[in-house]
């Protein structure tokens, strides 16, 4: 287990970034509400849901294969907004889940969404389907649902691993409009190749703010952007230090016994 005392520089960075985010959230809650740029994948949600309704086909939402975790909760938050749109159109949602702990949350999210859209009668507890907690058994279950029920819109959001391409390609073959988002950078190329829209990196975490226009969430997004500025400044300073020292023939990774008042400074930014 890592501790702050193993690397104080990282701990200080985490503390600063956390403070910036919380500060921006509090500011947004007090009325300083920022605006954020358009995200193509999220603008396509209504189009995808509308198309599914016109075709008389359901909408598929897969919240990844992890149990309750940050990506799964974030996916559920986004699915709540999408399900509300689905309910408004009077359409039907299918949400296969890979972990038993997600069943209750999934049901709650869909029930809330259908109720807030004024169509509680359209919600059925059979819409949230626990298939298996085995990765490929789950993948084959979802592929089976796609083949049999032919959803016209498919949203793959959350933590995905090797099964990502199986789900995305099967959806593509079924002719569904697909929007995907995952924090697993290794799976992003597969989604980019097989899906119509992909939320890259922190766009996934910005999605709920974008959809709800909620001041708290918008403040959090701006806090993240300020934190990115801090990171960029650190990277630039680190690069300059490494370049200057490199020109003097000093390898920053092997400074050895080099004693200098700048040592702590260099350690902080370069290492």
């Amino acid at each position: 287990m890592q501790h702050a005392s193993d690397n104080w520089a990282t701990a200080i960075f985490v503390a600063i970034v956390s403070l910036i985010i919380v500060l921006k959230v509090v500011m947004a809650q007090r009325g300083i509400v920022p605006t954020i740029r358009r995200i193509a994948g999220l603008n396509a949600i209504d189009e995808a849901v509308g198309r599914a309704t016109e075709m008389g086909r359901p909408v598929l939402m897969v919240p990844g294969i992890w149990p309750i975790s940050i990506p799964t909760l974030q996916a559920m938050n986004i699915f709540g907004h999408i399900a509300k749109s689905v309910a408004t159109y009077g359409n039907h949602t299918i949400m296969p889940v890979c972990d038993a702990s997600v069943v209750g949350i999934g049901e709650e999210v869909l029930r809330d969404a259908y109720t807030s859209a004024g169509r509680p009668e359209l919600f059925s507890s059979d819409d949230v389907r626990f298939l298996s907690d085995q990765q490929f058994a789950f993948a084959s279950g979802v592929a089976g649902i796609i083949e049999r029920e032919k959803p016209a819109a498919s949203f793959l959001m959350g933590a995905f691993f090797a099964e990502s391409l199986i789900l995305a390609e099967t959806g593509q073959r079924a002719g569904a409009i697909q929007v995907a988002a995952t924090p697993q950078t290794t799976q992003l190329p597969f989604f980019i190749a097989a899906c119509d829209y992909v939320l890259l990196g922190d766009e996934f975490y910005a999605a709920s703010a974008y959809l709800s226009r909620n001041p708290t969430l918008l403040g959090s997004i701006v806090g993240q952007d300020y934190a990115k500025v801090v990171f960029i400044i650190a990277i630039v300073i680190g690069t300059v230090c490494a370049t200057v020292l490199g020109a003097q023939g000093i390898d920053v990774k092997h400074m050895g016994d080099l004693h200098s008042p700048w040592r702590t400074f260099i350690d902080f930014f370069v290492k």
């Binding site: 702050a4 970034v17 956390s18 149990p67 940050i70 702990s101 993240q224």
Partner: protein, 286 residues
């Protein structure tokens, strides 16, 4: 050096005997009691209670991370309580397993009873579920029990363990491997669409992918094998170009995406920890 873990009420749980069962019973009873209590208390207090426990749970990990470790060790005063906190999370998670089973069996039983479209798949699932459960339990308790004795076409007797192994390794594992193997075919069809030259970006992707692929295989090495291994012309060897693309273009891009994801995770964690999160299944903001 790891600090020895002290044994106390929070860290030591007896593994055998009546006390063990007392712990199990007390934990289940306490869990049911807490769930019942959460159902009884008014909604406004329920949310405050959940927020309080979420904060306390998160505070433990934050404090454990920031508290300096004892000299020469990798532990501090809070480290020894980690198994206790981890077990608490597992116990809460264990309560949800029943939900999954109820959802799975309930849905497919309804499908069979009402003979919905393709109800045969549901019947298969229920049969497989029951057979696997029964033979796993038999294997756990009576693994060596002989079901069919040796003789006739059987060279050896068949035990409960053999049947479970046949179902698990011969059935489940083989089916999972087959699903995994499908990825190879899906990669081809996905790559075909991704690499179709339709725009400048797609062309760039196609060229760089071709260079990286050639740089990874013997054919690529052979094609540019005539070029010197050192000097300016060595830059045109496929393996060197592939390495350059992977290390200097691909890796920085992946790291940039990873930075964004890490910040997003941190921000979402903070919102959840401090109960600032708003949206479905959380408080709606007024």
């Amino acid at each position: 050096m790891q600090h020895p873990i002290n044994h106390n009420f929070f860290t030591a749980i007896p593994q055998h005997g009546a006390v063990y069962w007392l712990y199990v019973f007390a934990t289940v009873a306490a869990g049911i009691g807490v769930l019942a209590l959460l159902q009884i208390i008014p909604t406004r207090y329920r949310k405050a209670t959940i927020a309080l426990f979420t904060f306390l749970g998160g505070l433990y990990y934050v404090a454990e991370f920031f508290l300096p470790t004892e000299k020469g060790t990798s532990v501090n005063a809070l480290t020894e309580y980690q198994p206790f906190v981890g077990t608490l999370s597992q116990v809460i998670g264990a309560f949800t397993v029943g939900l999954g089973v109820i959802s799975l069996v309930g849905m497919h039983t309804r499908s069979v009873v009402r003979q919905r479209a393709q109800w045969g798949y549901s019947a298969c699932l229920i049969v497989a579920f029951l057979v696997m459960t029964v033979f796993h339990l038999l294997d756990s308790y009576y693994g060596d029990h002989v079901i069919i004795g040796q003789g006739g076409i059987l060279r050896a007797a068949i035990t409960n363990h053999d049947v479970y192994n046949f179902l698990f390794k011969g059935g489940l594992n083989s089916l999972e491997s087959a699903m995994f193997a499908l990825i190879g075919f899906f990669i081809i069809s996905a790559s075909y669409r991704a690499f179709r030259i339709r725009s400048f970006e797609a062309s760039l992707l196609m060229i760089s992918a071709l260079v990286v692929m050639l740089g990874q295989v013997t054919l690529g090495t052979w094609l540019t094998g005539g070029l010197p291994t050192d000097g300016p012309y060595a830059n045109f060897r496929f393996e060197n170009m592939a390495q350059y693309i992977l290390l200097n273009i691909n890796t920085p891009a992946q790291r940039a995406v990873a930075f964004g994801i890490a910040l997003g995770t941190l921000a979402t964690s903070l919102r959840l920890w401090l109960s600032l999160e708003r949206g479905f299944y959380f408080d709606q903001e007024s």
